[in-house]
């Protein structure tokens, strides 16, 4: 018992440590004062929403609510595996503690998972609305019985989590999964944001009713959540026997999962973890990547920096995370507004938002450039402690910038051009734009995009030295994002000011290339004969000057940068 108590105490301590280590107490309190009211508000909203529905729709909604929450409960610990060390039970195996105790402790500990506690009030309030069909004025006994059933869902979810965590232990502990979870978390956040926007802006109450009326819950019959929600619905009308038809399979599954979990725990206890990583396969993949043909256009040292930078950009999950989150706020809303220009109003009118079409290309390009600017203005951010090696070489510093610049402009230039190409196809085939219009927009904005990137990377050569920001912290990636955010108020203001300066500096290029475009059309297309060479010259001169300035700044601040990037994050 004392070991179990110790293990549960450890579980709480490690969970609390996510937010309470130095500098994170405030964020922990903020999280608490934000999430608790949010959870209560959600529960209240859920209750009101369910009360406003007819019994049939309410039953459907309950099935979907239970299913959604079940999925979130089961998947969230997998995504959070790297963040809470307690999920990795192998760390306990050196101690004289039995695998049964470890299993029990992890199972009991999982009942305090954040997502479980967050959604539980909503589940309770939504469930309690069922009793009102039969007992509008009260029905305390029915309410009690319903609430007794709710832990069945919690139990089956928690035992499923145990099995999944133990079954996938090796995968969850692998570097690749850690990288993938960082990206997945960003994808889920983006999807949640976009889903919310879609829900608020596009879907009316009638469409939700339409969705619930379609009896789609029949596709959920294999889900344990459905068995339990069905038992909930059956209890007030059909009594205990009706509820048992859902509860018995859920109980059987729970028992099976407990047995399976205990067996997996025993296997892991003796080092037999399923899906063991294959270092050979990992090495073969890395070898394949390394053997990709290198460029012979660039000088050897510049080419080496460029190739290294491209590998970092490809492999570093922080890059994808940032790009996904930036894209979800900036790029995707623009794309969504293009794909569905016809917006439904409350009065049923449909208005054509075709007037936004001329702004689609520039808007998207601006959004892309802004989303990518965090990388361009922080060229050393991905280096981490590896900067030691880079700066220990006698390579002229302007050539380091040269290699990095080529990698960044090359990669993101290609990405942006691809996005614009997709947009052109949409413009032509969805919005019915003419070929001339589409191609002209594509070429002008692809060129503008590349020129913008060259100017952006030039400014990056300077700002990366003046305002370095750590993106990567090897070995403690879960903390790295917070360390990025805790750079201090003054530095944050400077960073914002630098972005304003960048926008001002980019303006001439934008001005030169947008001037002949509709709806401005201040000058004719002939203007490109002047503006394109001027834009190229502007970008080229900026770049050449930036290499000199960057090199000179680096000469003075190299040791400071080294100390900054190699220091242990707080």
């Amino acid at each position: 018992m004392s070991q179990l108590r110790l293990l549960l105490a450890l579980r709480f301590k490690l969970a609390f440590r996510l937010h309470s280590a130095r500098g994170r107490i405030l964020s922990g309190i903020l999280l608490l004062v934000t999430l608790v009211p949010m959870s209560i508000l959600l529960a209240w909203g859920m209750s009101k929403w369910f009360q406003g529905m007819s019994p049939n729709l309410r039953n459907e909604a309950l099935h979907f609510l239970y299913f959604a929450v079940f999925v979130v409960w089961v998947t969230s610990p997998l995504l959070g595996f790297r963040a809470n060390e307690f999920f990795d039970s192998t760390k306990l195996f050196v101690f004289p503690v039995s695998h049964r105790t470890v299993f029990l402790a992890t199972l009991l500990g999982s009942f305090t998972n954040g997502t479980l506690l967050f959604f539980l009030p909503s589940m309770v309030t939504a469930t309690l609305t069922i009793r009102e069909d039969l007992h509008p004025a009260g029905g305390g006994t029915v309410a009690c019985r319903l609430l007794i059933l709710l832990p069945a869902l919690v139990l089956v979810a928690q035992t499923a989590i145990q099995c999944l965590t133990l079954g996938l232990l090796n995968l969850l502990r692998s570097r690749r999964f850690r990288d993938v979870t960082v990206i997945l978390a960003a994808v889920f956040a983006a999807l949640a944001y976009l889903g919310f926007r879609l829900f608020v802006e596009r879907l009316g109450a009638s469409q939700i009713v339409h969705f619930l009326s379609a009896d789609l819950s029949r596709f959920l019959v294999v889900s344990p959540s459905y068995w339990i929600s069905r038992a909930m619905i059956a209890l007030p009308t059909e009594g205990v026997m009706g509820a048992l038809s859902g509860l018995v399979p859920a109980a059987a599954l729970t028992v099976a999962l407990v047995v399976l979990g205990a067996w997996l725990q025993k296997k892991a206890y003796f080092g037999e973890i399923p899906f063991a990583q294959s270092p050979k396969r990992e090495a073969a993949r890395a070898k394949r990547e390394s053997e990709q043909p290198s460029s012979h256009v660039l000088p050897d040292d510049v080419g080496a920096v460029c190739a290294k930078e491209l590998r970092l950009l490809r492999r570093e999950p922080a890059v994808k995370t940032q790009l996904i989150s930036q894209a979800s706020y900036l790029v995707i809303p623009i794309v969504l507004s293009i794909i569905s220009p016809h917006r439904r109003h409350d009065d049923g009118d449909v208005s054509n938002s075709g007037a936004v079409v001329p702004f689609i290309f520039p808007g998207l390009l601006a959004a892309l450039s802004l989303a990518e600017s965090f990388l361009f203005l922080n060229l050393f951010g991905l280096e981490g402690p590896g900067i030691n090696l880079l700066f220990s070489t006698p390579m002229p510093r302007r050539r380091i910038f040269f290699g990095k610049d080529v990698a960044y402009v090359g990669l993101f230039g290609a990405v942006n051009t691809l996005v614009l190409m997709v947009l052109s196809v949409v413009m032509k085939f969805v919005l019915g734009a003419s070929w001339i219009e589409t191609l002209s927009d594509f070429f002008v904005f692809s060129f503008l995009g590349l020129t913008l990137l060259v100017v952006l990377v030039s400014l990056g050569n300077v700002f990366s030295v003046l305002l370095p920001m750590r993106v990567v912290a090897r070995g403690r990636r879960a903390l790295s994002q917070q360390s990025v955010e805790r750079e201090g108020c003054a530095k944050g203001v400077l960073r914002a000011l630098s972005l304003v300066a960048v926008m001002i500096y980019l303006f001439p290029v934008v001005f030169l290339l947008i001037l002949p475009r509709p709806p401005i059309s201040l000058v004719g297309p002939w203007f490109y004969a002047v503006s394109v060479p001027v834009a190229i010259a502007y970008a080229a001169i900026t770049w050449i000057i930036s290499l000199r300035i960057g090199e000179s700044l680096l000469a003075k601040r190299e040791s400071r940068l080294l100390a900054f990037y190699t220091a242990s994050p707080q």
């Binding site: 004392s2 070991q3 110790l6 450890l10 301590k13 490690l14 440590r17 996510l18 280590a21 060390e85 990795d88 192998t90 760390k91 195996f93 050196v94 101690f95 004289p96 503690v97 039995s98 206890y269 003796f270 080092g271 037999e272 070995g475 403690r476 903390l479 242990s568």
Partner: protein, 259 residues
Amino acid sequence: MLDDDYAVITEGLTKTYGDKAAVSHLDLRVKKGEFFGFLGPNGAGKSTTIKMLCGLLLPTSGRMTVLGHDVVADPLAVKAMIGILPEDINTYERLTGWELLTFTGRMYGLSRAEAEQRTEQLLRLVELNEEDRHKLVVDYSLGMKKKTTLACALIHNPKVLFLDEPFNGIDAITGSALREALRRATERGVTIFFSSHVLEVVEKLCTRIAIIHKGTLQAEGTVAEIAAARGFAPGTGLEQLFVEIAGGQVDRGDLSWMS
């Protein structure tokens, strides 16, 4: 000698992964109070053997006992009596060094007061200063992590210590203090099963050694015994013995450019 005189016994110990044998039919006997060096090149099967002896890995076949307890049948009894310093440190990095040690002590059944008292003494032994011991382990250097984990292995006063590369990343001063502490422990009857690539340390500390290569035991005994058995001149050093037994010829490629 009776089996009771031995701290560690393995008989035909084998661990295979698919068709590859990481450890093959290993027969070892380590006497109580012995400072036993377990040597081998990278990938020889040292860490696999240590994991099996500590009950962290199930052998494919064979038998092993630690202080008379069958490791497979009674892993808890074995774990209660041994201390482990694994090669790959897999511990709670979001605890402070102090918390990790007291937690470890209590997991071995020490009272809170006793665990805290021993934590204090061990942290002093491994020279982890007041500021560092209240930092999160995740912020420790490799050496500090190693020191803390070594202290964890010692906190419950184990009868057998399994140390896999214990001095890797530890500075000379702390290393010297630790070596002295370990030597004193063997005088008190503690058995140390020690794996290291630093042959000078092994030669200085270990009373007997075993050399394993490609999962198979190549030699066992004192340095002098092994040298005699292999036909080396008396006084042959461990390094030469080790290279001859486990090293062989290594293809180093064309390094003429390194002039």
